[in-house]
């Protein structure tokens, strides 16, 4: 809502600079988007009178004008506007003036002719295209004939008015009007408003029933009023009215439509004007649209009406979409003589639906949706009728058609104690009383208990909490104390699950991974990759783009997007992890289960070549090492890794499923080359774990194992084995077959090629033996070692080397 401080002064006597006023409004009522005035930064733009206009000899569209700008000599200005003519008052940007966009106008030559300045359109001096009257949209603007040559144009055009742009919150629709805003400022500054009442003059020789009858469904339109104004001449509005409209961001049209818009701004009451002679019959009905009905609206669009649309209908059918937009056929034209003027209240939720369904978010619809002042419907109608009659030399037919519901002020009881309890203040009864009075509320008070009667114009107030807000904001939020909740102490701590999630994050970060946060919404295809359990996908019903249609069921897809983004920008070394939810839906449910996962994607170098170290490439084992570290630190035991070819998106020879015992908790491996290719990324290693399963794992408390006081004995063994035999098989076999004295088996070398046959690989292990109760005998160790080695040879056909 753009509020002109000049207009405000008609209603309230405030002598405050606009910035200060805006600040006060922002601190006390609603947000302010900005304070502006159109003449800001403009220079030397004056009224000119075109004395002579002749064709430019070298051009088919330029004219050479001799212009009186109040100086001793005429200025010669070349002008290309189609509506230039002699004997008109125009806007002249003098040489060395500044017009909109900080453009400087200099004396110049146009096709050989001197041009001392520029004759301007409204747009050229800073008006928005959307407010320029249609008649002047394609050319220059013509000022009123009584404009004085040489005078600055600003006050003629209302460009010297300060405009405060209010960003009115949905609850304060009362401030979507000049009168409402004036009431608000009166409360803030403890002033009185002076509001003009309509001085209605009806033509008592004629009466409304000769023209029209109204039937309105009370549910749809509790108040529906029509007046008739006859013998109206439709023409351009006077300047004062045009100025008020364009300063509020509304394009002037004609003296009828302009008045309805003016009253909309003044009272916040949307009005609609019909060309009475286009209405079929004398009966106007407010009803819901019937199936199959259509209406061509003022924007020339043919609309199929929906069963919830409220319409205004004549004998032939709908002539307006109630509260949103009128019909083209019954609209005001230059030929209109009799006007049916409507002021009404429409069901706000129906208007809201209509506005949304037809995408018609007009100023009127916005106000009906949020509610309007039901106390001034008739007054606004009278004011508008009177103004139309005055501006169009018409007559108001006596009487009003339609009915109006009676509306009573809301009564709310509240105590001083309650107000102070909620605000944390120690306000006195008198202070509260003063605030209510400033707001214009009628009060009765007894022992600090208030009975407050809230005027109809503040329909946002209905419960005690609303009154507390009024007190708080007028008293000033700056004056509230700053305390902390007292009362019973409560412990603040993470749940076990929250702690595990946070531990997981810090373990991975300490392992060198950066935390990524990717999008939870992705494409259908990406959502369903790297799945860890059978589930249905969950899709948006109206997605905004094909990239974001479905809720993710894995984290890796998002991380691969991140890797691709980095690789595309020449960042080839990437180690990212993400902790977040995946969304698994069961067939019978609309809502998915949300499961906490953690995943990582790693590509490029683990560590770069340096003067000190060789470079180290990220590979399966680097990645697996991080998983092992994570699970160890989280206290998960009995973890095992099993080669897996089950994951379509993973390298079939380089992927392991991860289990706790026999419980599948995730996988680690290299992304399938087909997928890497699709993303345009290098070899990438990933893992994804179901964190919930880890959280559910009942990890045992660590029990201290005494450190053996006796020396350990080690045996090294290298063996050639078939390539198909897994390290885990051998380690598990050694552990199983050895006696109790075996304390550890450590793989320290893997070797292929050279002297080893191509079907084999060489594995080298260090076996550590210890006994916590006595010194080990070399012979005992040898015996145990030899026994296991021979069994190993028999089992796996290994060659001990």
């Amino acid at each position: 809502m753009k509020v002109s401080t000049k207009w405000l002064k008609d209603y309230i006597d405030l002598d405050i600079n606009p910035e200060e006023l805006a600040e006060k409004i922002e601190r006390t009522a609603v947000e302010v988007d900005g304070v502006s005035r159109l003449d800001k930064n403009l220079k030397k733009i004056v009224v000119g009178a075109t004395v002579e206009v002749r064709k430019h000899p070298e051009s088919d569209h330029l004219n050479i004008c001799q212009v009186d700008v109040g100086a001793a000599e005429l200025l010669q200005i070349v002008c290309g506007a189609p509506n230039i003519a002699a004997g008109k008052k125009v806007i002249v940007a003098l040489p060395n003036s500044r017009i909109a966009g900080n453009v400087k106008i200099k004396k110049s030559k146009m096709r050989g002719e001197v041009s001392e300045g520029m004759i301007c359109s409204l747009q050229e001096i800073g008006f928005s295209e959307s407010v320029v009257p249609k008649a002047y949209a394609a050319g220059i603007y013509l000022l009123p004939d009584d404009a004085k040559p040489g005078e600055p144009v600003y006050s003629y055009l209302g460009m010297d008015e300060d405009i405060i742009d209010l960003d009115v919150t949905p609850n304060r629709a009362d401030m979507l009007s000049m009168r409402g805003t004036a009431h608000e400022l009166a409360a803030i500054y403890d002033q009185k408003v002076i509001l003009k009442k309509p001085a209605l003059q009806e033509d008592l020789t004629d009466k409304i029933s000769n023209y029209i009858q109204v039937t309105a469904d009370k549910e749809l339109s509790p108040t529906y009023l029509l007046r008739i104004i006859k013998d109206v001449q439709v023409e351009e509005s006077p300047m004062w009215l045009q100025r008020r409209l364009w300063n509020a961001g509304i394009r002037p049209m004609n003296n009828v439509v302009d008045v309805t818009n003016y009253i909309l701004l003044d009272y916040g009451q949307p009005l609609h004007s019909f060309d009475y002679q286009k209405i079929a019959g004398k009966g106007i009905e407010v009803r819901l649209a019937k199936s199959g009905e259509t209406l061509r609206t003022l924007d020339e669009e043919e609309r199929k009406l929906l069963p919830n649309d409220i319409v205004i209908a004549d004998d032939n059918g709908p002539i307006a979409l109630a509260g949103t937009m009128g019909g083209l056929n019954s609209g005001i034209s230059a030929e209109t003589q009799v006007i049916a003027l409507e002021a009404a209240v429409f069901n706000s939720s129906a208007i809201r639906k209509t506005a949304r369904k037809h995408n018609l978010h007009s100023e009127a619809a916005m106000r009906f949706e949020r509610g309007i002042n039901r106390g001034t419907v008739a007054e606004a109608l009278d004011m508008a009728a009177q103004l139309i009659a005055e501006l169009g030399n018409g007559k108001i037919v006596a009487g009003v058609a339609g009915t109006q519901d009676s509306i009573q002020p809301v009564i709310i009881n509240i105590s001083t104690k309650k107000i102070n309890d909620v605000l944390g203040t120690e306000l006195q009864i008198a202070e509260i009383k003063d605030i209510f009075e400033r707001l214009g509320f009628t009060i009765e008070e007894e022992n600090g208990n208030f009975t407050v009667s809230v005027p109809v114009r503040r329909w946002d107030i209905s419960i005690p909490a609303d009154l507390i807000e009024e007190v708080a904001r007028i008293y000033g939020y700056d004056n509230l104390p700053a305390t902390l909740p007292s009362g019973e102490l409560t412990p603040g701590k993470y749940t076990y699950k929250q702690q595990v999630i946070r531990d997981t994050r810090s373990i991975l970060e300490e392992s060198g991974l950066m935390q990524a946060i990717s999008y939870g919404l992705t494409s259908d295809k990406k959502a369903q990759r790297f799945m860890m359990e059978d589930a249905q996908s969950t899709r948006l019903n109206f997605p905004m783009s094909s990239d974001r249609t479905t809720v993710r069921m894995n984290l890796i897809s998002g991380l691969l997007d991140d890797v691709a983004y980095n690789n595309a920008r020449k960042v080839s070394d990437v180690m990212l992890y993400e902790q977040g939810r995946v969304f698994y839906r069961d067939v019978d449910n609309d809502r998915p289960r949300e499961v906490e996962h953690v995943a990582a994607a790693m590509t490029g170098l683990y560590s770069a070549q340096s003067w000190h170290d060789e470079k180290k490439q990220i590979d399966f084992y680097v990645t697996k090492g991080i998983v092992e570290h994570l699970l160890t630190v989280l206290g998960v035991t009995d973890v095992n890794y099993r080669a897996s070819q089950e994951h379509e998106e993973m390298h079939p020879g380089r992927t392991a499923d991860i289990f706790i015992g026999n419980l599948f908790i995730g996988f680690v491996g290299e992304v399938h080359p087909n997928i890497s290719k699709e993303y345009g990324i290098g070899r990438t290693y990933v893992f994804e774990l179901d964190l919930q399963k880890i959280i559910d794992f009942n990890n045992e408390l660590i029990v201290y194992q005494p450190v053996s006081k006796y020396p350990v004995i080690t045996r090294d063994v290298a063996m050639a084995v078939g390539k198909e035999i897994a390290n885990a098989d051998i380690v598990n076999f050694i552990k199983k077959q050895s006696g109790k004295i075996l304390s550890n088996v450590q793989l320290f070398d893997v070797y292929e090629g050279g002297k080893i046959s191509t079907e084999q690989k060489s594995l080298a292990y260090e076996l550590t033996y210890s006994d916590s109760s006595k010194t080990l005998e070399d012979d005992d160790v040898t015996a145990d070692f030899e026994k296991v080695m021979s069994k190993l040879q028999a089992k796996f056909n290994v060659e001990i080397r």
């Binding site: 601190r27 939020y477 902390l484 909740p485 102490l489 603040g492």
Partner: protein, 348 residues
């Protein structure tokens, strides 16, 4: 020559020899030669048997004195040589200490998570619980329980991704509050919670809009909670995130779930309030919304609004991070460019 003279001369000669020797091996040789069983002092001592009773102790004591002096001189010299030997060795071992150290491989939390972590720490310290809830919610919890019935004009403030008519991507973390309020047993004390998490809005992504972002919402419900308590709590948030010097101010606003509702500005951390580009010359930056819980919200959750009341606030860690670190494009947070993420390795 008499023994005394020999001893004196021996001493002078030996001392000069000791003083000039430069080699640790040689000094050892000198020690053996001088003080060993075959050395001159031993020889003198042996020759004492020919001396008179009177002379014997005199010479004996002199011999011992000379031996002690030489022993001391040798020890001293050896120590000196040893020190210089170590010094030479250390000199040889000199390295270029300006070469870079071996990098420690370390990742770090995402910048948004750092903001959330800071807030969690603050509120855990004040006795709040951290409560998580579903990202895919029911309309009932996301809107209706928040005093936003269907067709409420304020629903326009939040464009929503729906999955079905009743199921949606949560647009705020307040549904977590609704769920927690429903379950809370006030016999066990007040309800003090924050709910951090992801939220979604039907917005076209650009520099200042993202269809996915984060929220941390807070809620306190008890018998005697005042708007002053809200103000003090908001002040703690502002100071924790933006610095101890920060002031806050409240402006009226509107949220359907609170009444009164306020918008909260923090004094500009860049200019301290004098006015700069960050605060658009106002000295203040809008950082969050808050208010006193609307009685309808309490009633719908089964809480007696006559007895209990409280405050709620909601803030955006994305916006906080953008303000604090001068990030001018919200999309940066979700693209995970390593060059972006790694800029926030420093704590807090």
């Amino acid at each position: 020559m008499d023994l005394k003279d020999r001893l004196t001369k021996l001493k002078v000669k030996a001392l000069s020899e000791i003083d000039t020797v430069e080699d640790l091996k040689k000094i050892n040789e000198i020690r053996v030669n001088l003080l060993g069983k075959k050395g001159p002092i031993t020889e003198v001592l042996r020759g004492m048997k020919d001396l008179s009773k009177e002379e014997r102790p005199v010479v004996g004591s002199l011999a011992n004195k000379v031996r002690d002096e030489l022993t001391a001189a040798i020890t001293q010299r050896r120590e000196k040589l040893e020190i210089s030997k170590i010094a030479r060795k250390l000199e040889k071992e000199k390295i270029d200490v300006t070469l870079p150290g071996v990098p420690v491989k370390a990742g770090q939390p995402h910048i948004i998570m750092q903001v959330i972590d800071q807030l969690e720490k603050l509120f855990l310290g004040m006795g709040y619980q951290v409560v998580d809830g579903p990202e895919i919610e029911e309309d009932h919890y996301n809107f209706e329980m928040m005093n936003l019935p269907k067709d409420h004009p304020a629903r326009d403030m939040q464009d929503t991704f729906y999955i079905t008519e009743q199921i949606l991507m949560r647009t705020q973390t307040s549904p977590v509050q609704a769920r927690t309020m429903e379950k809370h047993d006030f016999a066990k004390g007040p309800l003090k919670m924050i709910s951090p998490g992801k939220v979604y809005r039907r917005d076209t992504d650009d520099a200042t809009h993202s269809h996915q972002f984060h929220q941390v919402e807070g809620l306190v419900i008890d018998r005697h909670i005042t708007m002053g308590d809200l103000k003090g709590t908001l002040q703690s948030i502002a100071r924790t995130i933006f610095g101890d010097e920060r002031e806050i101010r409240l402006r009226p606003s509107y949220f359907p779930f609170t009444e009164p509702s306020v918008e909260v500005d923090v004094s500009c951390f860049k200019c301290g309030g004098k006015g700069c580009t960050v605060c658009k010359q106002t000295g203040w930056i809008e950082v969050l919304g808050a208010g006193m819980v609307h009685p309808n919200v309490l009633t719908m959750a089964g809480i007696d609004a006559e007895v209990y009341g409280g405050f709620a606030f909601g803030l955006g860690p994305d916006r906080f991070a953008m303000l604090k670190y001068g990030v001018d494009d919200i999309r940066e947070f979700y693209l995970n460019d390593v060059r972006f993420l790694s800029q926030f390795a420093q704590k807090g």
